[in-house]
């Protein structure tokens, strides 16, 4: 198997590096860290490593999650593995290019501390070439407004896992508009759905990380 395919497999398996004890019995075998390093040193095209190694793998992982083959632990480890690979590619990915493609401000809303989904979306957006400003969890409307002010053309992504906290997305959008911010807002999270997004006047809804990348690209008018 060529190295890029090996990288893809390692991400799917959640194998971060040679020391990782996961998957069971894989200790000593190369993980994403070693394989990406090898790929870079052997002159592999960085975009190839990124797109066909890392991003392709996360799309497959996302599908497995949707199909109830992968669960939260598997997602977390694959995301760890992808992050490890992205970190090695960072010096080769242009920050200026990222800003040009687009900026996404993302955060979980007030009262909600769940972030696994948001983190996956962040990783996928970075992989797709966007600059991501991750505000973490439990963010007030004011916190989103402050960042939106600094990046008037950024997409604002809101995440929530609870039916109670998702209501706060309404407040965030209201506050943004009251303050004259015109940033397009994308919403997501387990309890969120299209009808809710429309009701609160969000500009888009995506049901998973892969769809989020497509939606962000669409909203910014750039190629995914």
């Amino acid at each position: 198997m060529d190295v890029v395919n090996q990288i893809k497999q390692a991400v799917i398996n959640g194998k971060v590096d040679a020391n990782s004890q996961y998957p069971p019995g894989s200790e000593g075998k190369p993980g994403v860290r070693e394989l990406v390093q090898e790929a870079i040193e052997s002159g592999q095209d960085v975009d190839n490593i990124l797109n066909n190694g890392l991003i392709e793998a996360m799309k497959i992982v996302g599908d497995k999650f949707d199909n109830h083959e992968y669960f939260v632990p598997e997602m977390l480890l694959s995301a760890e593995a992808m992050k490890a690979g992205m970190k090695l590619l960072e010096p080769y990915l242009s920050s200026a290019q990222q800003e040009q493609k687009g900026v996404v401000i993302i955060g979980t809303v007030k009262g909600d501390i769940h972030d696994i989904g948001k983190n996956l979306v962040s990783i996928m957006l970075e992989g797709a070439g966007f600059k991501v400003i991750d505000l973490g969890t439990d963010n007030s409307a004011e916190q989103f407004v402050e960042r939106a002010r600094e990046h008037p053309s950024a997409i604002v992504g809101l995440s929530a896992l609870l039916t109670t906290t998702m209501q706060y997305m309404r407040d965030v959008i209201q506050t943004l508009r009251e303050n004259g911010m015109e940033n397009k807002v994308l919403v997501g999270g387990a309890p969120v759905h299209q009808a809710f997004a429309e009701e609160i006047q969000a500009d888009g809804y995506s049901k998973n990380a892969t769809a989020a990348v497509s939606k962000v690209s669409e909203l910014l008018g750039v190629r995914a």
């Binding site: 669960f71 939260v72 977390l76 407040d171």
Partner: protein, 298 residues
């Protein structure tokens, strides 16, 4: 000394726990993103009133308002120094309205931690966090512990182990399962067989499921769990799936909707029945009729 709750279950009696606390507290003005556990300190009368309504509706057991009252969760609201105060007052409030022959269950929910290797939290740290909460609940006089809404088997196991090391009172451990065409699993991929095996090995007296997507799915889960062991099974189901309506979360299944579905749960061999999100005193009233009928000598 045999515990009264276990003695009653052993005699074949089915017990009725209570309905939701979270959705009831929301009726008393819990702000979006607010901390329900704090209500024990800021609105004790509201909490007492909820317990009272459940006892009056027929619950044998009510759960304390301590679902998120562990150090890690309270830290999100800056209340980590109030772990003891919140848990102790919660038990005291429930006990103050608890009739003779009825019981108070200490509710213990997940910490939100990601335990190594999935995150940075160590098993030791999580064990300690559970111990802190459990010690307070037990000292304040809880009759039984309800470890609930668990998704990660390691975390659930740690909670049961922490409890078993502290107390002899009965321990119930329930997980939240999803039903799909691939079977019954928690969002962490834990199946009923693993849950039953590891939680009973860790020392749980009662295992089962709570929360999820309503009584119908709960039946699928219970039918998967019942054949796996001879011990006591607990089921606390939601009044359906949460649905958004005009900016509010509603659970659509009424007490009448729930009645035939709850009967099936009793027929499936559940030993402790109750409600989770969206259920209230009226649901419990209906369940009380069913449980009484099921307990009548044949």
């Amino acid at each position: 000394m045999p515990h009264p709750i276990l003695e009653r279950l052993k005699s074949g009696e089915i017990l009725l726990s209570d309905g939701a606390m979270g959705t009831e507290i929301q009726k008393y003005g819990l702000a979006t993103g607010g901390c329900p556990d704090e209500f024990n300190l800021t609105q004790p009368d509201a909490v007492k009133s909820i317990h009272q309504k459940y006892f009056e509706a027929g619950s044998d057991i009510v759960e304390t308002n301590t679902f998120g009252a562990n150090r890690m969760r309270l830290e999100n609201d800056g209340l980590q120094d109030k772990v003891l105060e919140i848990n102790i007052s919660a038990v005291e409030l429930a006990k103050s309205v608890c009739p003779d022959g009825k019981y108070v269950a200490g509710s213990i929910g997940p910490t939100g931690a990601l335990i190594q290797p999935y995150g940075t939290d160590s098993k030791e740290d999580i064990h300690e966090i559970f111990s802190e909460q459990i010690e307070a609940l037990v000292k304040a006089g809880a009759d039984i512990l309800f470890i609930e809404t668990m998704m990660d088997i390691t975390e659930a196991e740690l909670a049961v182990q922490a409890a078993r090391a502290i107390t002899d009172i009965p321990i119930s451990a329930t997980m939240t399962f999803e039903v799909s065409d691939k079977g019954v699993k928690t969002s962490w991929g834990v199946d009923p067989e693993t849950a039953v095996r590891r939680l009973t090995a860790a020392g749980a007296d009662i295992v089962g499921a709570n929360c999820g997507n309503g009584f119908e799915q709960m039946l699928v889960i219970m039918e998967a769990m019942r054949p796996l062991f001879d011990g006591y099974l607990l089921a606390q189901a939601n009044a359906g799936t949460p649905i958004m309506e005009s900016g509010e979360t509603v659970f659509k299944e009424t007490p009448e909707d729930v009645k035939p579905k709850a009967q099936k749960l009793l027929d499936a061999g559940v030993n402790i029945l109750g409600g989770c999100c969206g259920t209230g005193p009226e649901h419990i009233r209906v369940l009380r009729q069913l449980v009484d009928a099921a307990n009548r000598p044949k």
